[in-house]
């Protein structure tokens, strides 16, 4: 009896500890970004120049960089992750091959971010540079495009897994009904499985977006780290996460540090909101299924 109460207390405390940890992080971020909040106010999100020398910090280029790379990564990865999930969910009857595919996806998800960065730098960037030369653009190589490509590859495993889970929620009875009417696999996927999962897939997209927003290492390595507003999708830029990683250790002065922390706060809130929304949409769909 007593050991049970003790165990329960222990579990409860671990739960509470997590809650405290989360709040503590949030509060620390808020407090430490106060100087920057006071100095710049709204200018911080609309200001276009990020200048540690003149101590003016406007984060607009990073917000745009983050938004562009994450959205592009999502758009590039979606067809692949959807195809993988349809292949595994509907077409591949062979248990052995689907197990192999699944572990390959898991392995991809487990590769450290820095290795994706290396690969991007040594393989992808030269290719992008070559393309830029061909179309007579400035041959940076590094930039938003390279970052989006690396990001898209990194989120494919994640969004493929989500889509697999979401397609599993399609009730087998309605798929059978479609087969019994003489539908082919393709028709079942197109007219029955996908329409049923639209909202869930949208939720999955949001969750993957949340992932992409905060991805740091690989992006920092291939994005070019320019503090200026990107002129095109090919130019170098920075995301919120990559600018923090780049400048945090050499931040000059309190205001610079505080501005970086405010960026962190913005990223924290953005990711939290997309994750909560995405979770909500996916949960609502699984609820409707049961």
């Amino acid at each position: 009896m007593r050991s049970d109460t003790f165990f329960r207390l222990l579990l409860f405390l671990s739960g509470v500890f997590l809650l405290i940890l989360l709040s503590a992080i949030f509060i620390t971020l808020c407090l430490s970004s106060l100087p920057s909040l006071r100095s710049f106010g709204l200018f911080f999100v609309i200001g276009r120049s990020w200048n540690p020398i003149s101590k003016k910090f406007g984060a607009c280029p990073f917000l745009i960089g983050t938004f562009l790379t994450s959205t592009a990564a999502l758009l590039i990865s979606l067809p692949f992750s959807l195809s993988i999930s349809i292949l595994l969910g509907e077409y591949l009857n062979n248990r052995f091959f689907s197990a192999v595919f699944k572990s390959v996806i898991e392995l991809l998800a487990g590769i450290p971010s820095v290795i994706y960065g290396f690969w991007g730098l040594f393989v992808l960037v030269p290719i992008v540079r070559w393309v830029e030369l061909k179309i007579h653009a400035a041959p940076y190589g590094v930039g938003l495009l390279a970052a989006s490509l690396v990001l898209s590859i990194m989120i494919i495993p994640y969004s493929a897994f989500l889509s697999i889970e979401i397609l599993k929620l399609v009730p087998p009875e309605i798929k059978e009904a479609a087969y019994s009417l003489g539908a082919t696999r393709y028709e079942v996927v197109k007219f029955v499985a996908l329409p049923y999962s639209y909202s869930g897939i949208f939720g999955g997209v949001l969750l993957a977006f949340g992932r992409a927003l905060g991805e740091t290492m690989a992006v920092t390595m291939v994005i070019g780290n320019s503090d200026f507003l990107p002129k095109s999708f090919l130019s170098p830029g920075n995301t919120i996460a990559s600018v923090i990683a780049n400048e945090f250790t050499e931040a000059a002065g309190r205001l610079h540090l505080s501005s970086l922390i405010e960026l962190g706060l913005i990223l924290f809130v953005l990711t939290a909101v997309t994750n909560i929304l995405g979770d909500f949409v996916v949960k609502r769909m699984s609820f409707q299924g049961s």
């Binding site: 309605i174 019994s180 009417l181 003489g182 079942v188 007219f191």
Partner: protein, 252 residues
Amino acid sequence: MESSVLEIKNLSASFNGNSILKDITLSFPKNKLTAIMGPSGCGKTTLVRCINRMHELVPSAAVSGSVLLNGQDVYQMNPIQVRRKIGMVFQRPNPFPTMSIYDNVIAGYKLTGIKLSKQEKDRIVEESLKKAALWNEVKDCLHQKGTFLSGGQQQRLCIARALEMSPEVLLLDEPTSAIDPKAIQKIEELIVELKKTVTIVIVTHNIAQAARVSDYAVFLYLGELVECDQTEKLFTVPKDKRTEEYLSGKFG
């Protein structure tokens, strides 16, 4: 002997090497209602799923023997064609939740990419719903989702959907097992009416239902065909002791 639309010859089926059906030979007379009875797990559902090749959706399934539809072996035909000629209704009502009632009825055409004019579609939807005795109840809400209908109505919607491609055979796999008793009567009346136009095979574990609706009855036990005859004869003078015991409720 009446002409039969559907014949099963020496059919055996297994899943993962476990034998489910053993050497079944049967014929289904045209425009009659044949009931397949037997205790749970005796292979009733597998038997009907072998008829329209639905069992093939399970990767580990294997089948030998032949199923003849108007003399043509369905295992030599394209399964897609087979399933258009042999409609099926499942245990649990399964209308497509993302489609309206109208689209559910016409789904067979929509799914398989057959283009129809608006008038043709309207005509087929109305006809099928009338055949399924559902028209009067839903004619004012055809373009709403079918999921708000009651279980019995949903099942009749599924029957309408199975009828819309004018199949020659209709397979009903325990169509009333998930439906409340009041609605069951309506569905039974409906299927008796339907046999004028289509040959019906109904799987049921409800002996009384088989007695009420069927012309012919088949008794399956542990994957074997024990007995098949006109329903009246099978129920009054069963030849096999197992049939007698099953009908009198000794097991099942």
